[in-house]
């Protein structure tokens, strides 16, 4: 057991921290959270700065420890979140890097790193959310293209995305529903793609419905083999659960510090019950960070793809983060009912954490079946 970093890694940390300190003050003000084109421009601008400074590929090419240092330092410094680049950098990018051909890697990876192209995720459907394998969007081979018809839902950033990592059914007669699924990269400006934004309970258009009407997707846009999309998807999901939330733990520790300062200032810190609640949350986020380090150590030793330990992390993380906002509401008092406060919007948004990227109930099934070896069942 060793939590220390090598000299090389510490040098990377110091260089990054110095760059952040010099760069962050010069950033433009953050856009209105409801203005998606402005958010895309802001997030891609930040990605471009990372690219120009040589930090853009840290999610793919750096060692896992270096990636952790990157996430820790950027969050501690209060740097912008990956935002609209989330799917490209943390799901589609790693998947193409792991499963794509050299030509596909050359086509899609550099624009993601430069902040030129934004991706969204076309996995969920109205009747296939948690039961992802029951998806029905069909793709029929026609010459050198797949003709895709169906509907996707809960597609974050669809309004401003250039590409969609799309799961389609290519063999409706496959012996199991997990077979017969294919992973495609679909251009969002292709004829037949219609995006209808959905309003979340927070009032924003965070995600959208995507309607697909005989959309032609070139066969060369297929990542992995035809009908082998489920396996490719499992690679994507293990990234999603395993590492995509890592930076947010650091963000939570920072938020908790802000909350403690606010509580000391407005007197709620004198409430022992509330103070102890913040103490407990602090212990939980500290332990979650240690679990991240354990998972990353495991992934580093076994070849990079995070394992089912990601589900252990996500289960507790998503609940703890919701608890953080409940505690924040207790500290903020009347301000917690003011939609003009970031905390209030974030509290509303946090309700999605136990649903998105696999509900907590699905994660418990994964933990019970894949780690504890309990039988599959209902």
């Amino acid at each position: 057991m060793d939590l220390s970093c090598t000299d090389e890694e510490e040098e990377f940390r110091a260089r990054l921290a110095a760059w952040l300190a010099a760069t962050l003050p010069g950033l433009p003000p953050r856009p209105d959270p409801l203005d998606w084109p402005a958010r895309r421009a802001y997030d891609c601008g930040w990605q471009r700065r990372l690219y120009d400074a040589g930090y853009a590929d840290v999610h793919w090419d750096a060692s896992p420890t270096q990636r952790l240092i990157f996430l820790e330092e950027t969050e501690l410094a209060g740097a912008p979140y990956v935002g609209a680049n989330f799917v490209g950098l943390l799901h589609a990018g790693p998947t193409i890097a792991a499963e794509g051909t050299p030509a596909q890697r050359a086509r899609w990876l550099p624009p993601v790193l430069r902040g030129d192209e934004v991706w969204c995720q076309g996995f969920s459907e109205p009747d296939a959310g948690s039961d992802l394998a029951s998806l029905r969007t069909k793709a029929v081979r026609d010459g050198d293209a797949y003709v895709v018809t169906g509907q996707k839902i809960w597609t974050s950033h669809a309004e401003v995305a250039d590409w969609c990592e799309l799961l389609v059914r290519t063999d409706p007669d496959a012996p199991s529903r997990h077979r017969g699924i294919t992973w495609l990269a679909m251009p969002m400006d292709a004829p037949g793609v219609t995006v209808r934004p959905l309003r979340t309970l927070a009032g924003s258009t965070e995600f959208a419905e995507v309607f697909l009407d005989e959309v032609r997707v070139p066969v060369e846009n297929r990542v992995g083999e035809e009908n082998d999309g489920w396996r490719v998807t499992m690679v994507t999901l293990s990234f999603e659960r395993g590492t995509a939330f890592v930076g947010e733990v650091v963000a939570c520790r920072r938020l908790l510090g802000e909350l403690a300062r606010a509580a000391r200032k407005n007197g709620t810190w004198d409430d022992a019950v509330l103070r102890r609640r913040l103490g407990r949350l602090s212990a939980e986020f500290q332990a979650l960070w240690r679990i991240v380090q354990a998972n990353v150590s495991e992934a580093q030793a076994t070849g990079g793809v995070p394992g089912a330990g990601g589900s252990v992390f996500k289960l507790h993380y998503s609940h703890a983060r919701q608890e953080l906002y409940e505690a924040a509401a207790a500290v903020l008092g009347p301000d917690a009912l003011d939609l003009g406060r970031d905390w209030t919007l974030d509290r509303l948004s946090s309700l999605s954490y136990t649903i998105a990227a696999g509900t907590s109930q699905i994660q418990r099934n994964i933990v019970a079946e894949r780690i504890l070896g309990l039988p599959k069942g209902r």
Partner: protein, 292 residues
């Protein structure tokens, strides 16, 4: 950074597990309960001979020369096996109380107004005057109460190492009750299938694993940083894991879990005692909050 166990650490853990299974397996545990919970001096010397107490003494002083991360692994195994006795106090006394390192002398301490194993101990750390016996909730941890002293100026802190090693025992117990619940859920049949196939039961078991892993990561990291705030947080999560897992394990066992014959109540009662003896939840939460 590599937060996994080294090969040596894995070998140590295996070795301690084998040793404890041999010297204090289930039959020995139940025999100790049935006999009314007297301290087994032979077992104690056996632990001494195996280096349990001298683990962190330097080799030139006759110790094993290992560190706190290794001690945490060893105490996790002790918790897993429900090994009785004032293990932490004796381990911490090794090197300062003659005979403790070898297991010839049993050392206990006063903590939170309680003294475990007072009658069995040769040496008591702290002031045990006025101690009166109580009927301990844990059949394998006899307890005395002492009048609570007035709070010392500056706050006399429980040693962070004692807190951490106690937390490690809690993690061991949490891991064991998870394994017992899963094992039972895989063989007990109801409604024509094993109950481990029901989501209601699976989700209980998954929750147990999550609590254990969270506490284990916290305890192991704290053994490396030796940061008092991180240790307090680790104890908080380990207490939670041990007590809540014992309750969930009991629930998975159904009526069987409520009987004296099932071991789960022994885990629950010991977890309660450990939670109460060193840095109970309220103070642990305050300690972590103070670090914010």
């Amino acid at each position: 950074m590599d937060f996994r166990l080294t090969e040596d650490q894995q070998a140590l853990r295996r070795g301690v597990r084998d040793l404890l299974e041999g010297r204090f397996g289930r039959e020995a545990l139940r025999a100790a309960v049935d006999s009314g919970g007297a301290l087994d001096r032979d077992l104690w010397r056996g632990l001494g001979a195996a280096g349990f107490f001298a683990l962190r003494l330097p080799e030139e002083a006759g110790g094993v020369g290992l560190g706190l991360p290794e001690a945490v692994l060893v105490f996790e195994e002790a918790g897993r096996a429900l090994l009785p006795g004032p293990l932490v106090a004796t381990h911490l006394a090794a090197g300062s109380v003659p005979g403790a390192a070898e297991g010839d002398v049993v050392v206990t301490e006063v903590a939170e107004g309680l003294v475990p194993w007072l009658d069995a101990a040769d040496v008591v750390v702290g002031d045990a005057s006025g101690a009166v016996p109580v009927r301990s909730v844990d059949p394998l941890t006899p307890l005395h109460r002492v009048p609570l002293p007035p709070p010392a100026p500056g706050g006399e802190e429980t040693s962070p190492e004692a807190v951490l090693l106690t937390a490690a025992e809690q993690v061991g117990s949490a891991g064991r009750t998870t394994a017992e619940a899963v094992s039972y859920a895989r063989r007990r049949e109801q409604f024509g299938q094993v109950i481990g196939g029901f989501q209601a039961v699976k989700h209980l078991c998954a929750g147990m694993l999550v609590r254990t892993e969270l506490a284990r990561a916290a305890v192991r990291a704290a053994s490396l940083t030796v940061d008092p705030v991180e240790i307090a947080g680790a104890k908080l999560l380990a207490d939670e894991a041990a007590t809540a897992n014992a309750r969930d394990c009991l629930q998975v066992h159904g009526g069987m879990g409520f009987t004296w014959e099932a071991d789960v109540h022994l885990h629950l009662k010991r977890a309660w005692v450990r939670a109460g003896l060193r840095l109970p939840a309220a103070r642990a939460e305050e300690a972590v909050a103070a670090g914010l």
